[in-house]
Amino acid sequence: MTSADGAFVAFERVQKSYDGINLVVKDLNLSMPKGEFLTMLGPSGSGKTTCLMMLAGFETATHGDILLDGVSINNIPPHKRGIGMVFQNYALFPHMSVAENLSFPLEVRKIGKSEREEKVKRALDMVQMGSFAGRRPAQLSGGQQQRIALARALVFEPELVLMDEPLGALDKQLRETLQFEITNLAHELGITTVYVTHDQTEALTMSDRVAVFDDGRIQQLAPPDELYEKPENSFVAQFIGENNTLEGVVEQIKGNTCIVKLDSGDIIDAVPVNVSAVGDRTKVSIRPERVEFNRERLHDDAHTLKAEVLEFIYMGDIFRTRLRVAGTDEFIIKTRNAPDQQRLTPGDMIEIGWLAEDCRALDA
C-alpha cells in the first residue's frame, strides 16, 4: 500500500498530532485510483475526519506527504486544491439563495455570467432541484439542502470530492435514497470520492472500498464483501455487522484450518487469520447468520456446541435468537423467516455448528 505510483490520491506515511503528545493519525498509507469511491469508516475519534481535513487542506500533516495526481499538496492552500467538499451540516451560505450558493465557486473562479448560469442550472438539474434556484437554504428541507450542498461541491467540476458524514442528519428513508443517488452520480461523472461516515451500512452499500479506521490507523482496507466476510482482525469483525465472539486458545493448526479450545473447554473449527502458533490466545469470530443448528446441513465431522435458547425475537424478515453457548449469554443467531424455518422457543436445548471457513480465529 505504500507505493503511490499511478494513484490519484495518496497518503504516504502521514502522521498528525494536535498537542505534540498524542498521535491522532499514526502512519497512514493509502492510495486511490481515479474514479474510486472510498469510504473512511470508524468510530468517532478514530482519525478519519482528520484525514479528510488534511486532504482538504484545513489541517496540515505533522509528518508525511499527501499526493494528488502525483503532486504533493502539503503546501497548497485549500482554495487552490480544487477539491469539492460536502460538509456534515451542509454549510450552505444562509444569506445567499440556492443559485447564489452554487454560483459562488464559479464567481471566485472568474467564470463569465452566462457560463455561470448555465453551469448552475445544469448542476441543479443533476440533483433534481432545478425549480429551487431562488429559495434560501432555510426554506429547504434537510434532504433538499443536502442535494444543494452536493450540487455546489460538483458545480465547478472537481475531480475529487470529499464528503464528511453528509447524510448524518437525515432520517433513514431519505438517507437510503440519497446514498443511492450519490453513488450513481459519482460513478456517472467519474469523480473520485472520499466519503467519511460512522454508519457501516452506508459504508458497505456505497463504496468500492472501505477503510476501517481505529486508533489512528487503517485496520483494514477492502471491498465491502471482503470486509464483512473476511475481517482481518477482531476490531473489524466487531465493528462491521453483528458478530459472535468466543475466546480460547489455538490447539492445532493444519493448513487452512485450526482447532481452538474455548475457555469453556469446548473444541471448535476455525480458519486461522492472525494466529500463528499453537498456544496463542485468540478471539474467534462467527457471523450470526452463518451459525447452523440443523444437524443435517453440517459436515459430519464438524465440531458442535451445546446451546440453550434464551430469547427468541421476531423481527419480521428474520428471527434473532439469543443463546447460551460456551459460557456466554450473548451468542446470537439469525435465521431467515422462511416457511420451513423452525422457530425456537426459550428453554430449548439445541446443538449448533458452522462451516470451518465461516469461523475466523483472530487476534485476542
Binding site: 482538504a56 487542506g57 484545513f58 492552500p77 485549500p78 482554495h79 487552490k80 486544491r81 480544487g82 477539491i83 469539492g84 467538499m85 460538509f87 456534515q88 451540516n89 454549510a91 450552505l92 451560505f93 444562509p94 444569506h95 459562488f104 465557486p105 471566485v108 473562479r109 455546489r152 461541491a153 465547478f156 470529499l162
Partner: protein, 505 residues
Amino acid sequence: MSELVMAADGRPLKASLNRALRRQKLRALALIAPLLIFILVSFVMPIADMLFRSVENEIVGDTLPRTTQALKTWDPSADQAPGEEVFDALYTDMALAVEYKSHTRLGSRLNYEKTGIASMFRKSGRRVSKFKTDVYKDTFVAADAAYSDAGQWERWMSDAEIRANLPVTTDAYDGWAKMLVEAEGDVPGEEQPWNFVYAALYQDAVAGAELPIAVDVSAIEPVSISAQFAAVDDSWLDPDVWRTIKTYAPKYTNGYFLNSVDLMKGAEGIEQRPDNEKIYVVLFVRTMIMSLSIMGMCVLLGYPIAWLLANLKDRTANLLMILVLLPFWTSLLVRTSAWKVLLQQQGVINDLLVWIGLVADDNRLQLINNQTGTIIAMTHILLPFMILPLYSVMKTIPPSYLRAAKSLGATNWTAFWRVYFPQSVPGIGAGCILVFILAIGYYITPELVGGTKGVFISNRIAYHISSSLNWGLAAALGTILLVIVMALYWAYDKIVGIDNVKLGG
C-alpha cells in the same frame, strides 16, 4: 373557515379555548405585575410627565389671570405698552401673587424668554403693597363707614345681584378672599379688604355700575397704576415685555420646542434667534456626528476582538472576555478620571510622545477638553456594548462556512467578505444601535473630558435641569432627542430590518 367549530360540550371551540387560556394569562399577568407597576411608576410616568412639561405653560395664566384676560384686546404689533386697564388688572394679580409668593417663579419663567423680566417682577413684588392707592379706600370709607366693615363686605359679596352689578370688584374680592384663606389662614369676614379691592370697586363705579351704597366717585382723581409700575421699573412701559407676556399667556406653548431648535416667537410669528443665541442645533448636530464617530470607532476596534473571542478555545476566550468586561466592574467616574490623567497635556500619553520624539515639548497635543477627548474616552467606555453582541452573533456562525467557502475556491479575504461578514451584520447592527443610542444620551464622560467643544446635548439638558431650572426647555430638548433616536431606529428598521438585529442565540 365559515363554519363554527364546536367543542365537545357544544360551546364554540374558540370560546372554549379562550376560557381555558384565560387562567394562564391571568397567572402570567400576576407574575409580571410587580415589574409592570414598578416600570409604570418609576419609568413611564416620569417620562410622560417630563414630556408634558415641554409644552406645559400654565404658570402665566394661573398667576396673572386678570392681566392675560385684559391683554386679549391689546394689539401686540402696536408700538406702545397696553392701557391703564391692563395695569389695573396687573395690580390685582401682582398683589395676590406676592402673597402666594408665585411672582418670582413667574418672573424666572418669563425671564427665559426675555432677560430682565425676573428682576422686574421681583422689584414690583416688593413695592406693589406700597402703591399709593389709598385715595379709593379713603373716599369710599368716608362716604359710608359700611365700606370699611369686613362683615358687610362679605354679605355684599354673597349677594348674587350685587355680584352681577360689580364684576371687577367681585373678581378682585374673590381672589383676595381665597388668598386670605389659603395663604394667610385668616377669615375674610373679619378682615377689611385691601386697597386693590377698593381700586376694583372704583373701576366698577366709574363704569357706571350701581354700588350697594351710592358714592359719588367723580371727585376722585384717578391714580395711574401704570405710572407706579413704571416708577418701580420703566421696562413695564416696554411693549416687548408685554408682547412676551401675551405670547406666553396660553396654557400650552410650543415656545420650548422653538427654543430647542434656535427659533423664537416674535411679534410676527416664528422667527430665527439672533446668531449669538443659536446653540442647540449646532449641539444636536455635534452630538449626532460624535455619536456616529464613536459608533464607527467601536465597530473598527470591536470587530477583530469579537472575532478573536469567538474563535479561540473556550478557556482562553473566557479569560479575554473578563478583560473585555473589566471596565464594567470599574466605576465610570474612575475610568473617565483615568482618561483625564492619560490625555492631559502634561499627561502620560503626551509625555510618551514627547519622549519618543514624535511631538515637540512645546507643542504638546490637545487631547482632552475637546471632541478628541470625548471620542477617545467614550469609545473605550462603550466598546463592550459593541463586542458583546458581535461576539454572541459570531459564536453562532459555524467555522464550516469559512471552510466551505475556501474549499469552493475562495481566498481567505473573499471567504471572509462574502461569507463571514454578511452573517455577522446582525451583530454589527445590534452593537451599533446599542452604542449609538447610549452615546447620544451620554452625560458624565463628555461633562468631565469634553471641555466646551466636546459636550453633548445631554449636558445642556442637565444644565437646564439642575442649574438654570428651565425644566420646560430641558424637557423639550429631551423630547427632541427621544424623537431623533426613535426616528433613527425606525429608519434602521426600514433599511436593514430590525429582525436582522441579534443579541445572541
